[in-house]
Structure formats: structure tokens, C-alpha cells
Symmetry: C2
Subunit: 505 residues, 2 copies
């Protein structure tokens, strides 16, 4: 295959060759990829054509000074640069940039675990570190510290996931809330350490977030305002014991009662981790494939899903959470919890297994891809108050619109705290161009409907970033643009990320 030539927007072939030569000089020729070597970066699961997001090259930086050098070249030639850490933003665009022709800055070589403090339960890591690597590190040293990771845990890393504001399933589920201190290379190459990290000889970079003056860390999440090259993490001290609880809700509308039952338990601190309600269809992806169940047209009928699920002992909604502590501390909380479900019609099953709630890395979450072959996946991630009626209303909205496009409703509803996250996995055959178009148009309708009902999208795939950002209105957009101009006047960093461009009215 001849090398594909995808030039960065507004950059001539001659200038781009010069830039590539400078990249090679900086990081070594073997770390500058283009053409066929970009294949691993080009694979996407979302319902878009990779052509629209095709990168021009990839540069694998090995150090902060590499990152600074690459940025200097990009600023000189006005080349857009898309930083990735492990590049596995699966179902949101994977490694690909928000616009065609950007150069991927791959940080996977920067994978040092710089510090783990077992007393303070903190770590400092580089962007290439994966959860698996950190997990192994802790295990090898027999450190009693737990990780909280997203569904694709083993493949991805804490820096990328935290910057996307990902979540997990333990008491440390809010990854950004449990991060402390960043090192950020700014577009002009200067290195900012946030929080207490700016103080020379600081003792407190990984223990106190806010520093002095405006607290800046939030700026560098879901944005292209800087390249995070180090991130502090809070790790969960391994609890002496835990019990994971499953509550089976045997009627579809019991979802509401379950949300109402767990919210006060979550807010009182009796339950300290997210309460995840998984629907029957999403549960079934662990056990069977769509084609084994149903060969008709349109979405698999809900009644069929429910009856097959029942055969496997799976309820329409399946709630899980854990209690952590000493056995003596867990016992009275278990009583409180069990009592709370008396009136909901939920059946409480003790000692259910969900590894994500107890520091076990696994890829089982990705069995959901087997539901339909062909590797298509895109997430719809929206937020509401943790109220039963908002859970039902999002369920109904998603199920109806998906069915109108012949797509199944695979969802989890999670009571994080006061907020409830509705997460639908849209699974389709990515090889099938018709299916891609269908999902794409369904997604547009879903985003519009959810926004229209006040259920904002909190994380979006690269092909939806613009439309999601527009929903947040002109003031929000122009503030983001002003901040972008202040921090990256040439707009070389991740243009289009979260719908933010340096230019525009």
C-alpha cells in the first residue's frame, strides 16, 4: 500500500516534510510514523468514517523535552497536534483526532510510575502508564492499595481516563475528584505544575489539590488547553473486607424505586461507591449473542430480552454496589441496606461478584461487542438528578429512539451521588456502511432529545463534540474560546476537542 498523504489543514507538502524531518531529529526516526504505520491509530468503533478523522502522522514522544520540541515545531508551522496517552478512548473515537489531518502525539512511551506512597496512598504517573501496569506494580510490591478503573481497565490508563473525566466502580469512582496535582506542558512549551506543585520543594503536590489562587486543574480536562505529562492519583487503601450486593429488580419500572432507595443510602455514606443498575440486555451480552436470540428485523423485542434473561436468572434491572470496611462495620450497614429494599420489590443477593468494585482487572465488560459482530460501539452518556422519574424518562427516551432506528437498548443507570448517569452502549456492525449511517443518525437524534429534556451529555465521541458543545450555549463556548486563545494562541493543540477551536465568532 502506498503511503497515504493526509496533510494538516493549511500546511503544504513541503512544509509538512520539513516538520517531519524536525520531528525525526527530535525523537528519532523510528518514533515518527506515517502512511501504513498509522494503521493502529486509525481503527475506530464509532459510526464515522475514519477518513474524516485521519491523522497526518504520529509522533511518539519519550520525555517532557520531546513534547516541548514537538510543540515548538507545531507552533512554527501551525500544525495541529492531538495528544493521546494510551489512545484507547473506545467508543468515543479511540486514538483519532477531532478533525482530519492532525498529528497524533502519542505519549505511550512516557510510562513511568514515578512514585507510590503507601502511607499517603498516592501515586504520580506518566500518561503512558496503564491501569494494568500500575496494578501489577502494586501487586509485585504487596502494597495494600486498590485502583479504581473504567470498564476497559486493563487497556487504558489513569491519565487519559481522568482527563476525559471517566468513572469507575469503587469509592474512588470519580477519577478527577481523586486526582491531585498535574504537570502540564503548555502550548508554548512552558511547564506548569498545578496546585502545590508550583512551590519549589513542595511537600504537598499529591495531597492538596487547590494550591493558592485560582484552582486550574479542571481546565486541563476534556480540553486541548495543555498536555498533561504527570498526574497525581489518590489510591484507595485496601479495605479489610467488602461485600458486593446485587439487588434484582423484577419489573422494568422498579428502576425508579431502586433509584429512590439507593439515593439516601449513597448520600448518607452507608454506600460509598456508585450504585450501578444494569439492564437485562446489557447483562445478556456476557452470555449470548444477538443472532442466537433473534433473526427478525428491528430491535430485539423487549419481551424476548426479558424472558431469555429470566431463564438465566437475570432481572430487567440488576443493581450492584459494595460495602467496604471491617466485617463488624459492614454488618450493620448491610442491615440498613437490606431493609431499604424491602419496599422496592427488589431481591437482595449477597456476595455477588463484580471485579471492578474490588480491584480485579478484567476485560469482560467488552463482551458487549460480541452482541453484534463487526466491532461498532458508541456511548451515549447523559446526566440527571438521582431521581426515579429521571431514570425512567431517560430509559424511555433512549429505548424509543434506538428502536426507531432498529437498535437495541443496552444500558446502565448509575447513581453516582446526587447525580445519575445514564449510559447507553450502541452496538453495531462497523463494517456495514448502512449500519454506520443508521447509528449516526440515531445518535444525532438521541443527543438532541436528551439535551432538549435537560439531560446534558457529559462525554462525547469525536464525531459529536461540536453538536454537544453547541448545546451548552454561546457564553460557555466563547469563554472556552477565550481561555483557549490565552493558553494556545496558535490553536495547535487538539483543535475541535470538546468543540473548542481557537478561531470562530
Amino acid at each position: 500500500m502506498p503511503p497515504r498523504i493526509v496533510l494538516p489543514a493549511g500546511v503544504s507538502s513541503e512544509i509538512f516534510e520539513r516538520a517531519l524531518a524536525e520531528f525525526r531529529h527530535l525523537v528519532g526516526a523510528q518514533h515518527v510514523l506515517r502512511g501504513a504505520d498509522l494503521l493502529p491509530y486509525r481503527k475506530i468503533m464509532i459510526p464515522a468514517s475514519e477518513h474524516d478523522y485521519e491523522p497526518s502522522a504520529a509522533v511518539l514522544a519519550g520525555s517532557v523535552s520531546d513534547v516541548q520540541g514537538v510543540l515548538a515545531v507545531c507552533n512554527k508551522y501551525r500544525i495541529a497536534l492531538w495528544p493521546i496517552s494510551t489512545g484507547r478512548n473506545l467508543g468515543y473515537g479511540s486514538a483519532l483526532p477531532a478533525t482530519r489531518g492532525q498529528v497524533i502525539l502519542d505519549l505511550k512511551r512516557m510510562n513511568r510510575i514515578l512514585e507510590v506512597d503507601p502511607q499517603l496512598c498516592t501515586a504520580l504517573v506518566e500518561p503512558g502508564v496503564t491501569y494494568q501496569q500500575l496494578h501489577d506494580y502494586l501487586k509485585d510490591r504487596a502494597l495494600a492499595l486498590w485502583l479504581d478503573f473504567p470498564g476497559d481497565g486493563p487497556l487504558v490508563g489513569p491519565v487519559g481516563n481522568t482527563l476525559e473525566r471517566g468513572t469507575g466502580r469503587t469509592a474512588y469512582a470519580d477519577h478527577f475528584a481523586n486526582a491531585c496535582g498535574m504537570e502540564v506542558v503548555l502550548a508554548d512549551g512552558r511547564v506548569l505544575r498545578t496546585g502545590m506543585g508550583s512551590l519549589p520543594n513542595s511537600t504537598s503536590w499529591q495531597v492538596f489539590k487547590y494550591g493558592y489562587g485560582p484552582y486550574l486543574d479542571g481546565l486541563f480536562t476534556q480540553s486541548g488547553f495543555g498536555i498533561v505529562t504527570k498526574l497525581g492519583l489518590w489510591l484507595m487503601p485496601a479495605p479489610p473486607a467488602y461485600r458486593t450486593v446485587l439487588v434484582q429488580l423484577w419489573h422494568d419500572d422498579d428502576l425508579a424505586a431502586a433509584v429512590e432507595a439507593v439515593r439516601p443510602l449513597r448520600l448518607s455514606g452507608t454506600i460509598t461507591n456508585p450504585c450501578v443498575l444494569t439492564n437485562a440486555n446489557l447483562m445478556l451480552t456476557q452470555l449470548t449473542r444477538r443472532s442466537e436470540l433473534y433473526q427478525g428485523t428491528g430491535a430485539v423485542p423487549e419481551s424476548l430480552i426479558v424472558s431469555v434473561a429470566r431463564e438465566h436468572g437475570i432481572a430487567p434491572w440488576n443493581l450492584t454496589f459494595s460495602l467496604y470496611g471491617t466485617p463488624e462495620q459492614i454488618a450493620p450497614s448491610l442491615d440498613v441496606v437490606t431493609k431499604a429494599f424491602d419496599s422496592t420489590g427488589g431481591r437482595v443477593v449477597l456476595d455477588y461478584h463484580d471485579g471492578a468494585q474490588s480491584n480485579e482487572l478484567s476485560l469482560s465488560a467488552f463482551s458487549l461487542l460480541n452482541w453484534v459482530g463487526g466491532g461498532g460501539l458508541v456511548w451515549l452518556a447523559s446526566v440527571s438528578p438521582a431521581r426515579g422519574r429521571d431514570a425512567l424518562s431517560q430509559r424511555d427516551l433512549a429505548r424509543r429512539i434506538l428502536a426507531q432506528h432498529g437498535l437495541d437498548y443496552l444500558a446502565s443507570v448509575t447513581v453516582q451521588g446526587r447525580d445519575l448517569h445514564h449510559l447507553a452502549a450502541v452496538i453495531f456492525d462497523h463494517e456495514d456502511a448502512q449500519a454506520r449511517l443508521r447509528v449516526r443518525s440515531c445518535l444525532e437524534e438521541l443527543v438532541a432529545a436528551f439535551n432538549g429534556n435537560g439531560y446534558g451529555i457529559y462525554r462525547a465521541s469525536i464525531d459529536c463534540m461540536g453538536e454537544v458543545a453547541r448545546a451548552y450555549g454561546e457564553v460557555n463556548r466563547s469563554v472556552n474560546r477565550a481561555l483557549k486563545r490565552a493558553l494556545d494562541p496558535n490553536g495547535v493543540l487538539a483543535p475541535g476537542k470538546s468543540g473548542i477551536h481557537v478561531a470562530g465568532s
Copy 2:
């Protein structure tokens, strides 16, 4: 007394009169104060001369549109504007601006409690709302929701305290972490709602913080980047029961063992609120005055403090925290806690009373002013890891430097989580010019010594903002300056706040 004429920097008397006329037209003549009417704003406790921070006028805005109008006038004439909510930033500069000649924008008239949601345990309030007002509101409606407030609780309000990143004593002690959603009037008059607040008809402004794209709320804390006119709060559901525990540490160095003992309990979630260690001298301010104890020169000898304290049954260090939950949940945690102190030499006393840990507003914390008459108070607020050795080292540093200036060591050491806050109250006679100078020079030395040892200052009085900001280095300062220019290009909002000015290299 003839009206004092303090003109804003670079503004002529004629222009200023014109601006005042426009302010009067906007908000009503009775809401534009100057001269002798500014007396209530001029009172400070910190060791500075009020002359250096004297305001030019005060404008009392009654609405968002008043705020917008005032900002337009300030931009037109380049008049610096210093927003205050209740103006009682006691020990940090009270209502006074960071530089002489600013116009105070007093928001106390904007004191509506806009919403309290008893299911979701949230509130939405304006800047003039005080903790007392919100407390009374909840009590009147018999809502089982607790507030977390700072030591000066009844006088101050959640907006001002949260924006200064103040802390309290319950499980909701980190006020910024428990705030959700802001309305911010930007310098150009546009209104930004952060988080989900930008989405039209959002259901989730007070339940989900992060919104979509960069998370901006941190920008508006400890800064002059915008005027916060509404703030969402998370309220603590009243626990079914609680027990406040006192642990008496009978040797000065037991402080270290106590910190080591509580850190794991705090990180495991057995203790969910801050663990506050108060020293004997600070405890004694509730019971006696300095002059009754000691008439000599220099700091009161430590041995005298310890022996008088012992007579009152007060230990050199007195640790308090609470356990919240049902009595059945509290019992096993109390066992864990009691056992943890077996080896520390601490004496555990159950059911101690500290109203700040259980939703009781009181002004008792301010008895500390009676230690020395004359109303002088300035706080030294530094942070370290929650380690015994860092507690001792800050204690020794502060006590030594204070004693060198003849000042007493009144301190609390608080294990917030992974971080430990060392807070020293410097009490002096504000009427005494010599004492002010002595405290001022002591404070400079303290700030330099704490910074030099890597114990960063996280909140500073108006006379220390510049020196504290400088310690965080040039990159941090220039990033703050760039953000300031992006959001407030004319630099009219709170110049000097946290050491940030729009101009400068």
C-alpha cells in the same frame, strides 16, 4: 468628619464623580456609599494600616443586572471593583480590597435562598446569604439537612467562604468540593452558568459539577476572574446519630502519633470528617485571658500554658472528630477508633461537644480574640502531607518564629485527608502600632520559612497576597495573568486578588 477622598488609581476626581453618579442612577443613591459611610468596610484585624487598603466607595448591588451595570461603568472608566459577599473575611482582610482605592461591590443585598431540594440535598443561594440565614431557613421548614460552616459561621456566608476555599468540620468540610454549579457575571457583563447550568432547561445544575468540556469552577475561587452571583451547595443529610470523640494527647510530641493514628482512619472512611488537633493555648482562649496568666515580656512560656491548661483538664493537644450514622453503624467504628489510640498515649473521651461538627452555629470560636485585647487577628494557613513529622515540623517552625517576635502559638493541626492543615492564629492588639509592625514582620518571616520548607500557604490575607503568590513561581503567575487578561482584559475586577494583576511581566 469631612468625606475622605480616595480616588481609584489613575482616575481623576471629575471622572470618579461621573462614575458615582452613574452608580447612583443604577442602584439608587442610598446604595452608593463613600466617606464616613465606608467606616463599616474599613475595619480590619490584620496587621496592616487600613490606609493602604482604603476603598474609594461602596456600591450595594441588588441584582445581577445591577452587577452588570456597575461593571460597565467600571470598564468605561477603568475603575477597580472589589466584590464582597458578606465582607467578613476575618483575619484575612475583612471587606477591604487588596489595593488602595478600589470600589467595593457589596453583594449583601443579594441574599435570596433560591432553592433547597430536600430530596437531592442541594441548595442554590446568592452571595449575601449567611450560614445563619440558611440554618434558620432549614430549621423553620424542619428540613433534616445540616450545614458545614467555618469558625465564624453565623457572620459569614457559603458563597464567600466557598470562593475563598474555606473549610468546616463535618463530612462536608471541603466547601469547594461540596459546591456544585455557579452563576458568574464576567467582567464584560455576560453571565456564565458553569457545569450543567449552561444547558437550557438543565435538570442537573446542582447535582453534577463538571458539565462538558473544561471544568471551569475552580477558576472563580481565590481569584478576581468573575463575580459569582449564584452558587449551588451540597447539604449533608442529618445523620440519625453522631458521637463526637475527644482524644487528649498529654505530651506535646504525641501530636505526631495522633496524626499517624488518624490518617489511616480518615483514608479508610472510618472517620469522615476532619480530625482537628487544637493546642492548649488555643483551647485556653475559651477560658481565660493572657493578662490573667502572664505579665512578663515575650510569648507566654510554654510550660505555663501547659500547667494552666492541665488545671483545666486540657491537654497539650486535643483531637476531635465525629462518627456519624445509625447507633449500630457507629458502635463498631468507635471500637476501631478506640483501639487505634491504644498505642498513642491518647486518652479517649466520648461525647465531647463541638457544635461545628453537628450543625450548631456559634460564635465561640471568636473568643480567641479576647486572649489579647485590641482586636488584632491574622491567620497563617499552610498545608503539608498528613504525617506526624510534618505536623511537628510546622509546630516547631511556627512556635519558634512567633516566640522570636514575642507572640504566642495558638494553633490547630487538622488532618483533612491526605493533607494536613496547620492553622496558626496570631492574636495582637490592633490599636498598638508597634504590635502591628511586629506581627507584620513576624508574618513575613513565617511565610518565607513555611514556603522554604515546602509547606505552602493556601490562603492569605490581603497584605500577604503578593508575597504568597510569588512563592508559586513565574509559570504559575504568568498563566494566571494570561487567564486574567482573557476574562477581564481591562483588569477592573479585584486587581491584586491572590497577587494577580492584568498587567505585569
